[in-house]
């Protein structure tokens, strides 16, 4: 496999074919914020925090580094004024849902995001999709999925599968940045698990 040479934040970086910009940056010790990224999972491209500016043949554009593949001679900038402004806006939108999530609080401080910019939202799920994707791609159980779309989109445990699989697994629990997942599980266990199936009752 041939090496790909590109430049990230002024640094010369070598990447291999098939590597994403995020992987190439991390390999060179450059950090880019992420929320929905997980090394074991197919890149999702949902949170958009990992946005970077790429320049190729004189054209610049913003792309998500977790998905965009490294290219020869690419010039990448991981923090520009525009990127910082957008990350701040994105964080403020997330903080309306989960102002207490540690990962968000840390990023909020770094980017100067105001947790009270927007009215608080009822649900503290931030739609990173880590739980759904982990259960589908790693455990292959599909015990939790998405329902609906847009602002009505939610995660939903499937009681007939979760009642059988989850209590012995719960590997997705530590992945949730906001603990919404644990709350959703407890609720579905109380409301919808078939009687006698839950170990904790």
């Amino acid at each position: 496999m041939s090496d790909i040479r590109l430049q990230i934040d002024g640094k010369d970086v070598k990447a291999t074919e098939g590597m994403t910009l995020l992987e190439a940056a991390r390999g060179a010790g450059i950090s880019i914020p992420t929320l929905c990224h997980h090394d074991k999972l197919v890149p999702f491209g949902g949170c958009r925090l990992c946005l970077v500016e790429v320049e190729v043949a004189g054209w610049t554009k913003l792309v998500v580094s977790c998905v965009y593949l490294a290219e020869e001679n690419l010039i990448v900038r991981t923090r520009t004024e525009k990127i910082e402004k957008i990350r701040k806006t994105l964080l403020e939108l997330l903080l309306a849902h989960a102002p207490d999530a540690p990962a968000l609080k840390a990023l909020a401080e770094e980017y100067g995001a105001d947790a009270d910019r927007y009215e608080k939202e009822a649900s503290f799920c931030i739609h990173c999709g880590l739980c759904v994707r982990y259960c589908a791609e790693v455990k292959k159980k599909h015990a939790v999925g998405f329902i609906d779309r847009g602002i009505r989109k939610e995660i939903s445990f499937l009681p007939h599968i979760a009642a059988v699989e989850c209590n012995d697994c719960k590997e997705c629990f530590p992945l949730c940045p906001t603990s919404y997942l644990q709350a959703a599980f407890v609720l579905i266990e109380a409301l919808a698990f078939p009687r006698g199936s839950s170990q904790s009752s």
């Binding site: 491209g45 958009r48 946005l51 913003l62 806006t89 847009g150 009505r152 989109k153």
Partner: protein, 641 residues
């Protein structure tokens, strides 16, 4: 029906069809498109069939349900051939008279088109100003054929382009012709079709696919409906040619399920084409196999986005994929997939038949050919209009559209659907074209043209589109899902008089995040309606925020209805119609609206007879005090005054 095994057999069939058809034979063609059907066209067609029996003419006169010719405002539309006499707003009760006049070679004057300004009547369809000022290269075929008849399509020259391609052109030659035509996609982005085709042709991977995007989600746009319903074979022909060019043997037609007639007609067309050997194995004996499958949408605007559409074809939710991976190279099932809009495909047979050079002579430098627009909203002649690129917007709205009805003033025309923007009066001389519209802050989009007048609130327009997109967003990416959520909330507050200082800046910030960081074009273009209305109608936003006033007197929470005492005649019509009994009055007693009970539904304003026009909308000003009881007698004005 027998399988045609060679181009010669096709031509022989065509000749036979033409010999059997006598062009001078009377034929009653009634539009059977969804619009006219909703106006009662089926009852009209049935009435004709019955009446011809009654008058003993069934052997001498044909009837035919045709595709949509676009003059939907005046439907049901009936054209009598060969004279091409055009009757409008035909009802079943009119049918006996039409048929007897036909027998006597006379014309029913009262059903002809009448010019609203001069009162002049036009007999021939082609002379009607609405049609005459168009260049109806594509849509004019709709009224010449029964949409359910492949023979009719053959009789007007159908599938000749396919023959030419399969038997006298190589795939490279076809590609060169499409490239030379400079045909740009008609679905929204206006991407050069030739380049897209070339990408798919050259991309490695098998099998390859060609796809028709008939999702047509832009509200107010129905060009694709008319084409797919009205002339489904023209789309099929284009699709097969596309397949041949890139080396695809499978085609998909993704039709939104809200268009059941289009689904029906295209499914029938595929079956008929298969019977004739124009689809299936070795088309016309050429050795080229091709099959087509119809896939219905399930109600999601985002599935009009090409990568989301492909995901839906795979049986999944319509979530778009990043555009870094070009879908024409890795699309459906990660294979090269050429997706184009219905109207783009419809142009292909014409370009093959008449040549790329003919096509490039129509339109402007960067936008070639004609485009079908759906001209709707506050406009006199609502319907589909096909014009050469480069025609000024003003001509479309006034010469063809007949201007704004009810004596109202033009305010803006919204083009490009929820991804587009509003063009104000100052820019009406803009030539219609991809780049021109984009520069003005809008875009061509699929062709929707919503005309708005002085009664349309531009803040409400922005709110409407953002709410629409909030509802249709797939929800995968943050800037679209959450950004639009907040934008919708702020715009709703503004329209209810709850706007705050700083709202416009917040909206601009959210717009930037959506435009720069969204996953797909839905999110990226979502802020356009807001940004363009802010650009041209900032004063309306400021009035809503700073004065709680809606200049167009439209936003329900900011208006009051007031009956002007000098104009009220005490006729009691509004009083009887008010759903909450908020109007007090009596015969010859000036009516008064109880502002506490009033829900601002607007019924009183709608039903007050126009020659009185006594109900006024107020905004941002206090409602004048009620008249005292003894002043409420209506004084009838004598004729002398």
């Amino acid at each position: 029906m027998v399988q045609l095994r060679s181009p010669q057999e096709l031509e022989k069939l065509r000749e036979d069809l033409l010999t059997q058809r006598d062009p001078s034979r009377p034929c009653i063609s009634a539009c059977a498109g969804a619009g006219c059907l909703a106006s009662g066209a089926q009852e009209v067609i049935d009435a004709f069939t019955r009446e011809l029996q009654t008058q003993g003419l069934q052997a001498d006169v044909d009837t035919r349900g045709t595709g949509c010719p676009g003059f939907c405002e005046q439907g049901p539309v009936v054209v009598i051939h060969p004279e091409e006499t055009c009757y409008l707003r035909v009802k079943p009760e009119d049918v006996p008279e039409i048929v007897s006049h036909l027998k006597d070679k006379k014309v029913v004057e009262r059903l002809l088109y009448v010019d609203p300004a001069t009162g002049e009547r036009t007999t021939r369809e082609g002379d009607i100003p609405f049609y005459k000022n168009q260049q109806r290269n594509i849509i004019s075929d709709n009224i010449r054929i029964d949409s359910k008849s492949i023979d009719d399509y053959l009789a007007i020259g159908g599938y000749a382009a396919l023959c030419k391609v399969l038997f006298s052109m190589s795939a490279e030659e076809v590609l060169d012709e499409i490239k030379a035509s400079n045909l740009r996609g008609r679905g929204g982005a206006g991407f050069p079709a030739g380049r897209k085709w070339e990408g798919s042709r050259n991309a490695p991977g098998e099998p390859k696919y060609v796809i028709v995007n008939a999702d047509e989600g832009d509200p107010g746009a129905f060009m694709d409906r008319a084409l797919l319903e009205g002339n489904p074979h023209s789309i099929l022909e284009g699709l097969i040619i596309g397949g041949y060019t890139i080396g695809a043997q499978e085609g998909y037609i993704y039709v939104r399920q809200e268009y059941p007639l289009a689904v029906e007609n295209v499914t029938l067309a595929i079956a008929e084409a298969e019977k004739y050997g124009l689809l299936g194995k070795s088309i016309l004996g050429s050795g080229f196999d091709f099959k087509v499958v119809v896939h219905r949408g399930a109600g999601a605007f985002v599935c009009g986005e090409s990568t989301a559409l492909m995901t839906a074809l795979e049986g999944r939710v319509g979530e778009p994929r990043p555009k870094y991976i070009r879908s024409n190279e890795k699309g459906l099932w990660n294979k090269p997939s050429l997706l184009n809009n219905v109207e783009t495909w419809a142009n292909v047979p014409r370009i093959i038949n008449r040549g790329a050079e003919w096509f490039t002579q129509i339109g402007t430098e960067s936008s070639k050919g004609t485009k079908i627009f759906s001209l709707v909203g506050k406009i006199t002649n609502t319907g589909l209009v096909e014009v050469p690129m480069g025609m000024p917007l003003r001509d479309i709205i006034y010469k063809i559209g007949g201007g704004i009805p009810d004596g109202k003033r033009f305010k803006a025309v919204q083009t490009g659907g929820p991804s587009g923007g509003c063009i104000p009066e100052s820019l009406l001389d803009l030539a219609v074209g991809f780049d021109e519209l984009t520069q003005a802050g809008s875009m061509m989009g699929s062709g929707g043209m919503i005309v708005m007048d002085e009664d349309t609130c531009m803040v409400d327009v922005a709110r409407y589109f953002i709410e629409f997109l909030t509802d249709e967003s797939c929800g995968k990416c943050l800037p679209c899902r959450e950004g639009l959520r907040q934008m919708a909330r702020i715009l709703t507050n503004i329209s209810q008089g709850k706007g705050k200082a700083g709202d416009l800046e917040t909206l601009e910030e959210l717009s930037e995040a959506a435009m720069e960081a969204s996953l797909c074009a839905l999110g990226k273009s979502a802020p356009n309606p807001f940004l363009s209305t802010l650009r041209y109608f900032r004063d309306e936003y400021e009035a809503h925020i700073q004065e709680q006033r809606c200049p167009a007197c439209s936003c329900k929470a900011l208006i009051s209805f007031y009956i002007e005492p000098e104009k009220c005649t005490g006729c009691r019509i509004c009083l009887k119609k008010c759903p909450v009994d908020a109007i007090d009055g009596d015969k010859k007693k000036i009516h008064i609206i109880d502002q506490d009970k009033c829900t601002t539904c607007g019924v009183c304003a709608d039903v007050c007879p126009s020659h009185f026009g006594a109900v006024k909308r107020l905004s941002g000003v206090p409602v004048p005090a009620d008249l005292a009881e003894d002043q409420r007698r209506v004084i009838r004005k004598s004729k002398g005054q």
